[in-house]
């Protein structure tokens, strides 16, 4: 039990957390000189009534200060959108983002699903800020989902089970 009392090394924590499979999102918002976004997998739904979702944003991230007080959009990525995830995670020249025109809050075109939010509450989360947003709009399409586990991207297929699984 003594091990549990000592603070885990960052490596050990990462090793542990990398075993938890998540989806991948790009959180987008209006930056000072145009739409901006950051890849995040620390996304979770919080409440249905009112509709609240949460992202955990690193304090040292460039987007941190702007996101705290702005409306934002969580773009949940489809399996084929891994290049976008890499781009907004800082990879050079991975791809060019395309922005949905006429969106109130900047968002990507054609994500698997998107959740538009206005700021609701921000909480201290250590070196992160827990940003809870109130959902103002949303949408989705069909397709496989992009996943992240073991520090690698993967996909979760939409169900294509046929009658064989019923009978």
């Amino acid at each position: 039990m003594s091990r549990a009392l000592a603070p885990p090394s960052p490596g050990a924590l990462r090793a542990c957390m990398s075993r938890f499979t998540t989806g991948v999102t790009v959180v987008t918002y209006a930056g000072e000189d145009g739409p901006r976004g950051a890849t995040m997998n620390s996304f979770t739904s919080v409440s249905a009534d009112p509709a609240l979702v949460l992202v955990s944003v690193a304090r040292r991230a460039r987007c941190h200060d702007q996101l705290i007080d702005s409306s934002f959009c969580v773009n949940i990525l489809g399996a084929e959108q891994e290049p976008l995830a890499r781009l907004f995670a800082g990879a050079q020249g991975a791809t060019e983002p395309r922005w949905a025109t006429a969106a109130r809050v900047p968002r990507l075109t054609n994500p698997l699903a998107w959740v538009e939010c206005e700021p609701w509450q921000a909480y201290d989360g250590g070196d992160h800020t827990l940003l809870v947003g109130r959902v103002t709009d949303l949408g989705h399409r069909d397709g496989d989902a992009l996943t992240y586990a073991w520090s690698r991207f993967g996909t979760a297929a939409e169900s294509t089970d046929g009658i064989e699984h019923l009978i």
Partner: protein, 483 residues
């Protein structure tokens, strides 16, 4: 009312006006006279008549608990081992009549309806009306002796996405509207065998549904008359070429039409719905009601009859041309015999290990039936292959009835005779072998046996997932651990 006669079946069909597109023609009624259907309709009429024949009526019918009239045995809710045996014997009489070539005789869906109605309480969980509806519908089908077809799978557009998402959710049959007395269905389902000459269409759950709002319009089970307005069938090219029975002995009797089903805003009244908007109910439809078990009991009985026919046919063939004594021929015949004995053993095991289910129905054991269901799609493929190999050039030495009676008669007599048969007898036999393993009809049979219960590949996946292997793993583990 009671078990129908062939004449009564034909009369009802004559009064029905289903819309069938076939070879550029739109037929609305008169199915029993149409060249594409009249022969197979005649065969179905024969099946109904068997219910009244002195030889078979005791097995093919029982006394209706409501009307006191004799009704079809496949509607019998089995309570005792004798009931199960009687059901199997009845399946066998009909299957024998077509050598197992008719895949959709009425007893197939009747068995399903019987099980579904017995599990009415399960349907009632969602809404008491559904329980009432399935019970009432089963009774109607039994008392009117209705011939039902069914349609399950969504159109084959893009199997990379779920059935509910074909072409962005705009193709598969779905509920588009709900009004005061029912729902409106738009879209298509892939196939319905015997649709043009059935009385009713059962539209039952297809792919696995998610409980999300998007899947709600695809969550349904209902039954409608075949000539419901807005319902259209697109029939494939008929394989009955309207040729003499001598020349096309199977296709001229047993050509079950397969149709794509189009719902053009078909209105379905609530009293004909058994499930609506409930994904969980739809996903449990076959397994939770034991419906699949009773259907498979019928199917394995039919495939047993079909295998008996193949064994008889191959034996006449090998005798006719004197190839019985060759060892590889015996090996092939042995393969057919082992398949037959295996199917019989499965049937017997399923009946011997039957148990009363939670709805009080004596239900055959599914494990042996499920094994048979997973094996036969592949085992059957071997039969036409064996017949082609053993029949060889004889399968092309198959002049027609007109030749046998025409100017070539003497040549046929002389050169097409065989070790045990005269020329005309041998031609007649070889035409049957040809129709079992070479003709278009035979290819459709092979495709049917491969796919009608679903894709064998995915069936195997579902089979493995549902099979409890823990005890076997544990046993091996114990052995590993043994000092």
């Amino acid at each position: 009312m009671a078990a129908r006669t062939g004449k009564e079946y034909m009369e009802r069909l004559a009064a029905s006006r289903p819309t069938v597109h076939i070879q550029g023609e739109t037929v609305t009624g008169g199915i029993q006279d149409h060249p594409a259907f009249r022969n197979v309709v005649q065969t179905y009429a024969e099946l109904f008549d068997l219910q009244h024949s002195d030889e078979h009526k005791d097995v093919l019918t029982y006394t209706s608990p409501t009307s006191g009239e004799p009704v079809g045995t496949s509607f019998l809710t089995p309570k005792t081992p004798d009931d199960l045996v009687k059901r199997r014997k009845a399946f066998k009489v009909w299957a024998d009549h077509s050598n197992g070539m008719l895949g959709r005789t009425g007893d197939y869906m009747n068995s399903s309806l019987m099980a579904l109605a017995s599990a009415a309480d399960w349907f009632a969980q969602a809404n008491p009306a559904f329980g009432e509806n399935i019970r009432r519908y089963y009774k109607k089908a039994r008392e009117e002796d209705l011939l039902c077809t069914h349609t399950l799978i969504p159109p084959q557009v893009n199997r990379a996405v779920a059935g509910t998402q074909q072409a962005g959710g705009k193709l598969a049959a779905r509920i588009v509207k709900e009004d005061d007395n029912g729902v409106v269905i738009r879209g298509a389902r892939m196939l319905a065998t015997i649709a043009p000459f059935a009385d009713e269409m059962l539209v039952f759950p297809s792919t696995v549904l998610r409980g999300t709002p998007e899947d709600k319009p695809y969550s349904y089970a209902f039954a409608i008359p075949n000539d419901t307005p807005g319902l259209r069938y697109i029939a494939r090219e008929p394989l009955d070429y309207d040729r003499p029975r001598h020349d096309h002995p199977l296709a001229s009797r047993f050509e079950e039409s397969d149709c794509v089903v189009v719902f053009d805003d078909v209105h379905v009244p609530y009293e004909r719905c058994f499930a609506l908007g409930d994904a969980e109910l739809c996903n449990g439809f076959y397994s939770q009601t034991s419906s699949v078990v009773h259907m498979t009991h019928q199917v394995v009985t039919r495939t047993t009859a079909k295998t008996e026919y193949i064994l008889g046919l191959v034996s006449l063939l090998t005798e006719a041309i004197g190839i019985e004594q060759f060892q590889h021929v015996q090996e092939d015949v042995a393969e057919i015999i082992t398949t037959l004995e295996m199917l019989r053993a499965f049937l017997r095991a399923a009946e011997a290990d039957a148990e009363v289910n939670e709805y009080g129905v004596l239900t055959p054991a599914f494990a042996p039936l499920n094994a048979a269901r997973n094996l036969y799609p592949k085992l059957y493929q071997r039969f036409p292959q064996i017949l082609r190999k053993l029949g060889a050039s004889g399968l092309m030495a198959t002049p027609t009835e007109l030749d046998i009676q025409g100017p070539a008669a003497a040549d046929i007599e002389a050169y097409l005779q065989s070790a045990t048969l005269s020329g005309p007898e041998r031609v007649k036999l070889f035409r049957l072998v040809w129709d079992t393993c070479v003709s278009a009809f035979s290819s459709r049979q092979a495709l049917y046996e491969y796919y009608f219960f679903g894709d064998p590949v995915r069936m195997a996946g579902a089979y493995v997932k549902s099979y409890d292997r823990e005890p076997y793993k544990a046993r091996v583990q114990v052995f590993l651990d043994r000092a």
